[in-house]
């Protein structure tokens, strides 16, 4: 496969990147889930990562957040080498993520889930004192709940929510605090058409300085909310480009239609 770094022109100011991966690989036993991935994303840039199941997209996210450490390679976040940082250190620097399989606190209410997320990126994580009623974090949590259209169920236990609502809550958790860069792992999977509309609206109305990478099988969603696309296959990046270029690329069309995914 030919690596055509057509976006390289956009990324000349390499030191000013939000996210930069150099030669990142991750092995699971003999399986190379990621091989020699080099990628850079500018601050505020919005990019889609496309590829069939098992292409290594989620593994890429896990390496960036520190959920897994890469077998080799370097990861920089806003210029800082975070390769060996534990996840919470990366999160505190403004990185956020959502999980492909919702990872929430089922025994807590919606608001309390978001409250925890706001706490995690604030000081006083160890506070022994209960918050006051007019606590700023409590307000922040409530307005995030509003932002993802969950106000009506804000006091319900998360375990009782519908699937689509849980996916929306995943997004709220990733928006807590002051995110600078967000990784969305298949946020639209399993959502109804209306819920997809809501998702697109949430993504497009994010403040311009917040960049993100979105993994999304649904081209209709993905290509409407990004300005650049990275194609992955078998743990490698094989193409990068603008949505229009990618859509009309014969190689991509062949792989995507032949790869079992629409």
């Amino acid at each position: 496969m030919s690596a055509v770094p057509s976006l390289e022109r956009l990324n000349t100011a390499s030191s000013g990147n939000a996210l930069e991966l150099r030669g990142v690989s991750r092995l699971f036993g003999a399986l190379a889930a990621l091989s020699d991935v080099t990628l850079s994303v500018r601050p505020g840039e919005r990019r889609a990562v496309l590829g069939s199941n098992g292409a290594g997209k989620t593994t890429l996210f896990n390496c960036v957040t520190g959920d897994f450490s890469p077998s080799s390679g370097v990861i920089r976040f806003f210029g800082e080498d975070v390769t060996t940082f534990p996840p919470h250190e990366r999160i505190r620097r403004g990185l956020r993520r959502t999980y492909q399989i919702s990872s929430l606190f089922a025994g807590l209410t919606v608001v309390d889930n978001v409250y925890l997320a706001c706490r995690g990126v604030s000081r006083n994580r160890f506070s022994l004192r209960r918050p006051r009623r007019d606590d700023t974090l409590q307000h922040a949590a409530e307005s995030l709940v509003d932002a993802v259209h969950l106000t009506a169920v804000k006091d319900r236990l998360v375990g009782e929510l519908a699937y689509g609502q849980q996916r929306q809550l995943e997004i709220a958790l990733a928006l807590s605090g002051a995110p600078r860069f967000i990784l969305f792992d298949e946020p639209a999977a399993g959502l109804s058409p209306t819920e997809r509309q809501d998702l697109v609206q949430i993504l497009t109305s994010l403040p311009a300085h917040i960049g993100y990478i979105i993994i999304e099988h649904d081209m209709d969603v993905a290509l409407r909310v990004v300005e650049s696309v990275t194609m992955m296959h078998n743990g490698r990046i094989f193409k990068e480009g603008r949505p229009g270029e990618i859509e009309s690329d014969p190689e991509v069309q062949e792989l995507y239609l032949g790869g079992g995914h629409g």
């Binding site: 089922a106 309390d112 209960r130």
Partner: protein, 362 residues
């Protein structure tokens, strides 16, 4: 959908309430128990006040520190009894005892804070050692630390006075009160136990406790929210150690002596049994477990004699009780109580509904 399956529902963060709101929220059972405990010196003889109730409250505090870690943090640590025993030793070493060649005879108001501080440091370090393990491995490591401490106290004569330990460790007298006499000691213990209970209830719904429960249910997500899971767990060990250390001070004043057996493997495991039998889901559980334990321990002699067994086998009775409770209610006595109450409420509701139906039909 792989939601984190909560073993226990997380207590929701409650905003700071006024004292009147907190008081208004308590049920009748709480007030009956509180009132009974307060007027107990009028009702009970000295034996019941000290040997049963005060002792149960001291053991309950140690088990409470275990419950805090296990119930809210998902950390089964057996180190809590050792922390208490260490604090007990330090009170004897820094303060006064019959072993005059070792005890430093500091006044109690220096000896006790230093003992609590050092025991807390010990509990925190023990936590830091075992924090990266889970489940059975945490039990093993903390048990190993406990055994090491037991053999240290047994074999070291220069500091711990070996096999015989320290006797003649008396509670202090201040404010014109001899805190070693029956009624003051009862109230001292009641005050400490009530404070420990209240603090655990409060903290469980403060950000620290809430996040601890988050690390129990979904540690990976907590890290992805910016929480340092390891640091949070170590802090939980420190918090639990403070409670265990206070209990250790009360324990040495209650027994007036401390020896290697205080922190032996027997008491270490007993503490786990007390917490599990009482119930790990609520801070009141350990106190109930401790009361049952002390009652069994005290009266099993008569009970076993009565059914024709050797009386000294109270451990057998405790073991059997443990088995029965764990088999029938994984959530301990608290769980049984809650189920009974729910059933009672439900039956009352259906009764009320039937009455409405019956009353409505001619």
């Amino acid at each position: 959908m792989a939601l984190a399956e909560p073993r226990l529902a997380i207590a929701t963060p409650r905003p700071r309430e006024g004292l009147s709101e907190v008081i208004a929220r308590q049920g009748t059972a709480f007030w009956i128990v509180a009132a009974l405990l307060l007027v107990m010196p009028l009702l009970a003889n000295p034996f019941w006040l000290v040997q049963i109730l005060a002792y149960a409250m001291i053991l309950g505090m140690i088990a409470l520190s275990l419950m805090f870690l296990a119930g809210y943090g998902g950390i089964v640590s057996l180190i809590q009894m050792t922390v208490a025993a260490f604090a007990a030793y330090l009170v004897a070493i820094f303060g006064d005892s019959a072993i005059t060649q070792i005890s430093l005879k500091w006044p109690w108001w220096t000896a006790v804070p230093v003992a609590i501080l050092l025991a807390t440091v010990f509990g925190t370090l023990g936590g830091a050692l075992s924090v990266r393990t889970e489940g059975i491995y945490t039990i093993m490591i903390t048990l190993a630390i406990g055994s090491a401490f037991y053999y240290l106290t047994l074999q070291n004569y220069t500091i711990f006075n070996g096999f015989s330990g320290f006797n003649g460790v008396l509670p202090p007298a201040f404010l014109g009160i001899d805190w070693g006499s029956t009624v003051p000691f009862y109230y001292l213990t009641l005050g400490c136990a009530a404070l420990a209970y209240a603090v655990v209830v409060y903290v469980s719904r403060a950000p620290f406790g809430l996040a601890l429960q988050g690390t129990r249910d979904n540690p990976r997500r907590m890290a992805a929210l910016g929480f340092d899971v390891v640091a949070h767990r170590i802090a939980a060990y420190a918090f639990a150690a403070v409670i265990a250390a206070f209990a250790g001070v009360l324990l040495v004043w209650y027994q007036r002596q401390v020896s290697p057996g205080t922190g032996g493997v027997g008491p270490v495991v007993d503490m786990l049994i007390i917490a599990v039998v009482g119930g790990l889901s609520r801070p009141i559980g350990p106190f109930i477990g401790a009361l049952v334990y002390v009652l069994l321990r005290t009266f099993s002699l008569d009970l076993l004699d009565w059914v024709g067994f050797e009386g000294k086998r109270y451990q057998l009775l405790i073991g059997l009780g443990f088995l029965v409770i764990v088999l029938f209610s994984p959530d301990g006595l608290i769980g049984i109580w809650q189920r009974l109450r729910d059933r009672y409420r439900k039956s009352r509701e259906t009764q009320a509904a039937q009455m409405r139906v019956g009353g409505g039909s001619p």
